[in-house]
């Protein structure tokens, strides 16, 4: 698989990253180099190997269903760039 400029632009859009013209060029090259390396790994025979769901050999970590106190609202909103009437205030959602 070869990464094209279009792929890079698409990933940048999905990640909300603004890339300059030179960046697109640079990342296209870098991402292809990474994929070339992955191709080396792809040569390993992994048939019969379960995909890794988690890197630690731990399972079933759970808590009891008990409600605990939440944050005071002033604290919850403390880092919000904008707030109004106890709500987080965000820019309009639909364009245009």
């Amino acid at each position: 698989m070869k990464i094209t400029r279009k792929d890079v632009e698409q990933v940048a859009l999905l990640s909300r990253l603004e890339l300059g013209e030179n960046d697109v060029e640079k990342f296209t090259g870098q991402l292809n180099a990474i994929l070339d390396y992955i191709d080396v790994l792809n040569k390993v025979d992994t048939s019969g190997v379960e995909p890794t769901a988690h890197v630690l050999p731990v399972k079933n970590v759970m808590r009891a269903d008990e409600a605990r106190p939440s944050l005071p609202r002033e604290l919850a909103l403390a880092n919000a760039p904008e707030q109004e009437d106890g709500y987080f205030k965000v820019p309009k959602i639909l364009e245009g």
């Binding site: 970590v61 759970m62 808590r63 605990r68 944050l71 609202r73 009437d85 987080f88 309009k92 959602i93």
Partner: protein, 477 residues
């Protein structure tokens, strides 16, 4: 051209746990905005979510009740997208290893039973609530309440086995009944604890390949599900008949205008870039535990309906109506257990009782007349102490005052007059006072008899035994 409608439903149901899926915040509905939030559900850096054990149990319970296979190894994944109702910019959900797969439920439509496949049931977190000043399109900004963020959800996905709007409604009703029977969700559509999205496409009759589908959102009531899908099927048929092409898009049902409107076209395939959630460890479900849960499942709607038909001789329709909600079926069972005749109990519950509940906008759990009180009223009617008509009056009074039937009958002197001597005297008085009606009846006008019966009932304030009145009247004219 004749088309076949193909529908698949995605239902989201909020689980009735005390705390959220990955943190200890309360799930209570209607709290002040942003008061049930903490660093975990707000997605602040450095926090560690921990799964609520009850959520896994409820998910397994639901999977079993829907005849699914429970996967012994299951995990959470991140579904990435940007929308302000998600503070983390991803939703913790399940992708390739959901907790339950390959189930089904049976619905009855037009007297026929049909099996609808269930693809999967998975656990995920709910998103926050957006408040727009005015409409979403015209608002200058949006306000966000994250109380709902992290409330546990199950997403239940059906196979595209549904062939009409009516079947879709029946599926949703059955699903709701099952979820309520197994006590995992309130299923209040008006509070959003049961939500439904639909995928719908058309194809020429006989074609096996699926057509291009539209996804319909905002189907917020059973009626909306049916009307929205009926509308969309017609819309797509018109587009196709005119030689047009269906655009794969998301549409929203506008209940007030009675139509679906385009929200956004899915120009790019879903690119949610799912990947395993590194902060949560996998779940390995032990088969002994699963079997314990299976054994603890209550009698489900289909089994209960069959039991009411077999044990009490109720019709399939009646048993279906009564078992459509667990609360109503419980009410019925309690009324019968208190000594009432089963068919009479069914008639009362489906008739007067439901009529009063609907008029008052109440659920049967809030019924002011207890099952034992209804049984006592049915008994008074069966013994002939009150007539059927008076029983309704008594019920009215029971509903308003909460008093027992016997007390009301005594207080208001509503005991049926079945003493022949007493009724004869009134019958003769009415005959003497209405010679014209008597003559009309003799001339063949059956209706004149009704008038005379009415006069007798008026004299006795409805308390005369109707059969006795009819018998005595006919003997004397």
């Amino acid at each position: 051209m004749e088309y076949e409608v193909v529908i698949g439903l995605e239902v989201h149901t909020e689980l009735k746990t005390a705390s959220k899926i990955f943190c200890g915040c309360s799930t209570s509905f209607g709290a002040e905005q942003n008061t049930n939030v903490c660093p975990v559900c707000l997605g602040l850096p450095g926090v560690l979510p921990v799964l609520n054990a009850k959520v896994l149990e409820f998910a397994v319970r639901t999977g079993l009740a829907l005849n699914c296979r429970i996967l012994p190894f299951s995990k959470f994944d991140r579904k990435n997208y940007y929308y302000p109702d998600l503070p983390k910019n991803f939703q913790t959900s399940q992708y390739d290893l959901p907790i339950a797969v390959d189930g089904h439920l049976d619905v009855e439509v037009a007297g026929e039973t049909k099996r609808i496949g269930i693809t999967r049931v998975h656990m995920e977190e709910d998103a926050g609530k957006l408040v727009h000043a005015g409409t979403i399109a015209k608002a200058d900004y949006t306000l966000v309440d994250y109380n709902r963020t992290g409330v546990p959800l199950l997403e239940i996905v059906s196979e595209p086995d549904i062939r009409s709007a009516e079947e879709a409604k029946a599926y949703l009703e059955k699903l709701k009944a099952i979820l309520q029977y197994i006590d995992v969700s309130d299923c209040k559509m008006e509070e959003g604890s049961l939500r439904c999205d639909a995928n719908i496409s058309l194809r020429p009759k006989g074609e096996t390949k699926l057509g291009t589908k539209a996804e319909i959102k905002n189907l917020n009531s059973f009626k909306a599900v049916q009307k929205g899908l009926e509308y969309e099927a017609l819309r797509q048929a018109e587009v196709l008949d005119e030689g047009g092409r269906i655009v794969q898009e998301t549409r929203s049902w506008d209940d007030a205008r009675g139509q679906t409107v385009s929200l956004r076209s899915k120009e790019q395939a879903h690119d949610y870039r799912y990947f395993p959630e590194p902060d949560l460890v996998p779940m390995v479900v032990d088969s002994t535990w699963v079997e314990d849960i299976r054994r603890s499942l209550p009698e489900l709607p289909d089994a209960r309906q069959a039991r009411l038909m077999k044990e009490y001789g109720l019709s399939g329709y009646d048993a279906g109506v009564i078992t459509a909600s667990r609360a109503m079926a419980d009410f019925f069972d309690a009324t019968v257990a208190a000594g009432a005749d089963a068919k009479a109990a069914a008639n009362w519950i489906m008739g007067e009782l439901s009529r009063h509940l609907n008029a008052a906008g109440r659920e049967i759990e809030e019924c002011p007349v207890a099952p034992g009180q209804l049984a006592a009223l049915i008994d008074l009617q069966a013994k002939g102490t009150v007539s059927g008509k008076i029983a309704k009056t008594v019920f009215e009074e029971m509903w308003a005052s909460g008093k027992d039937a016997a007390v009301i009958v005594k207080e208001q002197g509503l005991v049926q007059i079945s003493d022949e001597g007493e009724v004869v005297a009134i019958v003769e008085k009415v005959i003497a006072a209405n010679p014209q009606s008597v003559a009309d009846f003799k001339a063949g006008k059956e209706r004149a008899l009704g008038f005379l019966v009415g006069q007798i009932m008026k004299e006795t304030k409805g308390r005369a035994n109707p059969e006795l009145v009819n018998k005595l009247l006919r003997e004397r004219i």
